[in-house]
């Protein structure tokens, strides 16, 4: 029972290292890994087997969750290129985007006051399409090796995710 922990997540799942990935392949490979390595398969095994199975499945879960999530995957892609995104320091300096941020926050508060199901749904799908646009721009920048620009797109993605979560939480 072993896997190579030195592979990157894409190599682990045998999928191409890119922004858009084949989720069906990812899912299939993930399930077959789990069926082989999950601790449930080693309940009566030795302590060593249990420990290794725990390490391997933890790693597989981490990898899978990273590739499933556009935001985490984007950060990871830049990391492979040697470009660390500062996850904590997410200040965006672009004044235009700052304006846009403020407008969206105001809009979300106004819609929340209305307490109308249809407007809520519309707002959420608006945020989602903005997030998708963001990912497309990230892909463009990433493919052109413009990592600073790509990193800004990641910060924007984070903003859209947090506004969506806040909005849903306060419904």
């Amino acid at each position: 029972m072993s896997i190579d922990f030195n592979q990157n997540y894409f190599q682990l799942f045998e999928i191409e290292c890119s922004v858009l990935i084949d989720h069906e392949v990812l899912e299939k490979k993930y399930l077959s890994f789990q069926k082989t390595f999950h601790p449930d398969k080693y309940v009566n095994g030795s302590d060593q087997e249990k420990r290794i199975s725990l390490q391997i499945t933890s790693y597989i879960n981490e990898a899978y969750q990273t590739l499933k999530n556009d935001y985490l995957k984007s950060i990871y892609l830049l990391k492979i290129k040697g470009f660390e995104v500062d996850d904590q320091n997410n200040t965006i300096s672009d004044p235009e985007f700052l304006m846009h941020q403020m407008e969206l926050r105001e809009e979300s508060e106004e819609i929340q006051l209305k307490q109308d199901v249809k407007s809520n749904e519309n707002f959420i799908s608006k945020i989602r399409s903005l997030k998708e646009g963001c990912l497309e721009n990230f892909e463009k920048n990433y493919n052109e090796s413009l990592y600073d620009e790509a990193s800004n797109k990641i910060k924007e993605m984070k903003f859209y995710t947090s506004i969506e979560n806040d909005f849903k939480r306060n419904l």
Binding site: H38, D40, V43, S58, Y59
Partner: protein, 615 residues
């Protein structure tokens, strides 16, 4: 004597030799045990032929008993102890909490003063598990090899750890802690469907759980889970008791209020089947007044709590990024889902009739036994469960803010590591505070543990690199390790759990329970000798049936039968030594027979088979 049991190749040993794997639903109100025998599920029954073992623990000065026929005089009785397990004294809702005795909250863990002995909810729960273990082993004439215990999906790390500790104290080996909604989903056997999305709505006595699962090619993956660990049918009882109290303008003390509350529970159950129920407090000696309550009255009492469960369900759906329409099945679990109002509210909310054809009281235990059977390796079923952590794990950072390390609904097992550094020259220790919850402020989350990382090599501020690894295992339980990466020195960690009990305390309790359990051990030895005696008799009988008259002359045959009958008559002697001697006597007398059987069976195997098969 082992040689007597010659089995055909490919056939198993005598069934009573088997070790058992069981599923335990350790419930707030009732607990259940289920196990798989010959491919079908059996629920263990108590002496009243009921599958529900009331989770009621009664202490007298010198004894502990489990169940509802408890000693009423000079005794202390605990109900719904599950509500307190792994909890801090400050988490307990004092308004609905009735303690049967004095309690203290030293070091944050609740401790009850039970006849001058301080007991935690963990020890009290372990008595329930001990009892279930004893009843199972006596009924099945065997030993429990391992068990799966279910917990509410919403249980946090402290509550899971506490449940596991209770099992350790009871002497059970836990193969896995399984989330209750997941167990229910397994029990429904939905794996025959290739792909589907399942929602499990689980409303028990004390907890509400909701889980969304995705079933795909033999893998059951939990997508999201949520709930409220202190919302359940007990709350309906309290609401109903309060309603009766105010309607009749009663002014009750705590103990009378508790009687009214137990009466309200009965009324609630009656209201599931009848439109109208008469309330007559003469039965419990509280009042002469009588009135009638209707289902509608009751429904409006519980309406806000039911709406709360639906709101939580909606949030969990949104966590799973799913819409209501994408759910293929809704499964109802927990006794409280018998309430007709809840069923109709769910159906109209989700526009889908829910499934409840498996008894909602039994379904979790049944699922646990299926999982125990799969884990034991006895099952040919290819079913794998992938569960998630219900609440985010984080650490305290500057300004009492929480930094999330592992977000909720991450599939387990999982791990995460963070790097920290020192902020003073020569700093050799560092404190890490771990919390669980979804809020931004440390004070709004549950404090799980404080760690002190020690033995950091003294360096300039910012030079040390402390890598802290957080590992969550398949039971959802956290462990932490730390390493100084620039020198690769492994640092030590001192754990101070904010809840529950430390490993050393568990050891102490185990020793305690061994000291106090001498009598238990003797009883156990006696039971074991009886089981062994029965086993020997069974195998000698089956051997005699097969070839006794061929291999033995009349006198030999008679001698063995006499020794066997002698043993049989000693089984009720209540004396371990006498039984063991009778077993030995039978074994000695059968020795020649055993060796003749051996030879005969070898001859039989060799005959008619090509010698090549033995290469």
């Amino acid at each position: 004597m082992a040689l007597l049991q010659i089995s055909e190749p490919g056939q198993s040993q005598e069934p009573h030799q088997k070790k058992f794997y069981i599923g335990i639903d350790l419930g707030t109100t009732n607990s259940l045990v289920a196990l798989i025998q010959n491919g079908s599920t059996t629920l263990l029954k108590d002496k009243n032929n009921s599958e529900l073992f009331p989770s009621i623990v009664t202490y007298t000065k010198n004894s502990v008993s489990i169940g509802d026929d408890y000693e009423k005089n000079q005794s202390i009785t605990f109900r719904s102890i599950k509500r307190l397990i792994g909890k801090n004294i400050n988490d307990i809702d004092k308004s609905s909490f009735y303690s049967p005795c004095e309690y203290i909250g030293d070091d944050n863990v609740v401790k009850f003063n039970v006849f001058e002995k301080l007991l935690t909810p963990i020890e009290i729960s372990s008595e329930i598990l001990k009892y279930l273990k004893k009843v199972t082993e006596e009924t099945m004439l065997g030993e429990i090899e391992g068990c799966v215990i279910t917990v509410p999906a919403y249980f946090d790390d402290a509550q899971r750890q506490a449940t596991k500790d209770a099992a350790i104290l009871s002497g059970l080996k836990v193969l896995r802690l399984l989330n209750e909604p997941t167990a229910a989903a397994i029990a429904y056997g939905l794996e025959s469907k290739k792909v589907s999305k399942v929602m499990v709505y689980d409303l028990g006595g004390g907890t509400f759980d909701i889980s969304i699962l995705d079933l795909n090619d033999g893998v059951f993956k939990v997508l999201a889970t949520g709930g409220d660990s202190s919302l359940g049918g007990d709350d309906f009882d309290h609401l109903l008791a309060d309603y009766i109290e105010s309607k009749l303008e009663l002014d009750l003390d705590k103990s009378k209020k508790n009687s009214l509350y137990l009466y309200a529970k009965e009324i609630k159950i009656l209201l599931s089947d009848s439109e109208l129920v008469n309330i007559d407090l003469k039965n419990i000696g509280l009042s002469d007044q009588v009135f009638t309550i209707s289902q509608d009255d009751f429904n409006s009492l519980i309406d806000s709590l039911v709406s709360k469960t639906l709101k939580i369900s909606e949030n969990v759906l949104s966590d799973a990024n799913l819409s209501m329409e994408s759910i293929d099945e809704i499964i109802l679990v927990g006794g409280s889902t018998r309430t007709p109002y809840i069923r109709s509210m769910i159906e109209s909310f989700f526009e889908k009739p829910p499934l409840f054809n498996i008894n909602p009281d039994n379904v979790v235990a049944i699922g646990a036994s299926i999982q125990a059977n799969i884990l034991s390796g006895n099952s040919s079923e290819e079913l794998l469960l992938l569960d998630v952590i219900p609440l985010s794990l984080g650490i305290e950072t500057i300004g009492e803010l929480v930094e999330v390390i592992i977000p909720r609904n991450s599939t387990i097992p999982t791990s995460s590591s963070k790097e920290y550094t020192t902020f003073k020259d020569g700093q050799t220790a560092m404190s890490v505070h771990i919390v669980q919850g979804e809020r931004d402020l440390v004070s709004d989350c549950r404090s799980l543990a404080k760690f002190i990382v020690k033995d950091i090599p003294p360096m300039l501020a910012g030079a040390a690199r402390i890598n802290i690894q957080f590992q969550i295992d398949a039971d959802g339980i956290l462990s932490v390790s730390a390493k100084e990466t620039s020198t690769n020195k492994v640092t030590t960690i001192e754990v101070k759990p904010s809840y529950g009990i430390s490993d050393s305390e568990i050891e102490e309790m185990l020793r305690d329970s061994f000291d106090n359990a001498k009598e238990d051990i003797e009883r156990r030895h006696l039971n074991e000798s009886i089981v062994e005696g029965k086993r020997v008799i069974l195998s000698i009988n089956s051997a005699l049936n097969i070839d006794g008259s061929n291999l033995l002359n009349k006198d030999e045959y008679k001698a063995i039968c006499n020794a066997r009958d002698e043993l049989e008559s000693k089984l009720n002697s209540e004396d371990k030594e006498i039984i063991i001697n009778a077993i030995k006597n039978l074994e000695n007398i059968s020795e020649t027979y055993v060796s003749r059987r051996m030879n005969a069976s070898i001859r039989e195997i060799m005959q008619g088979k090509d010698i090549k098969e033995y290469k």
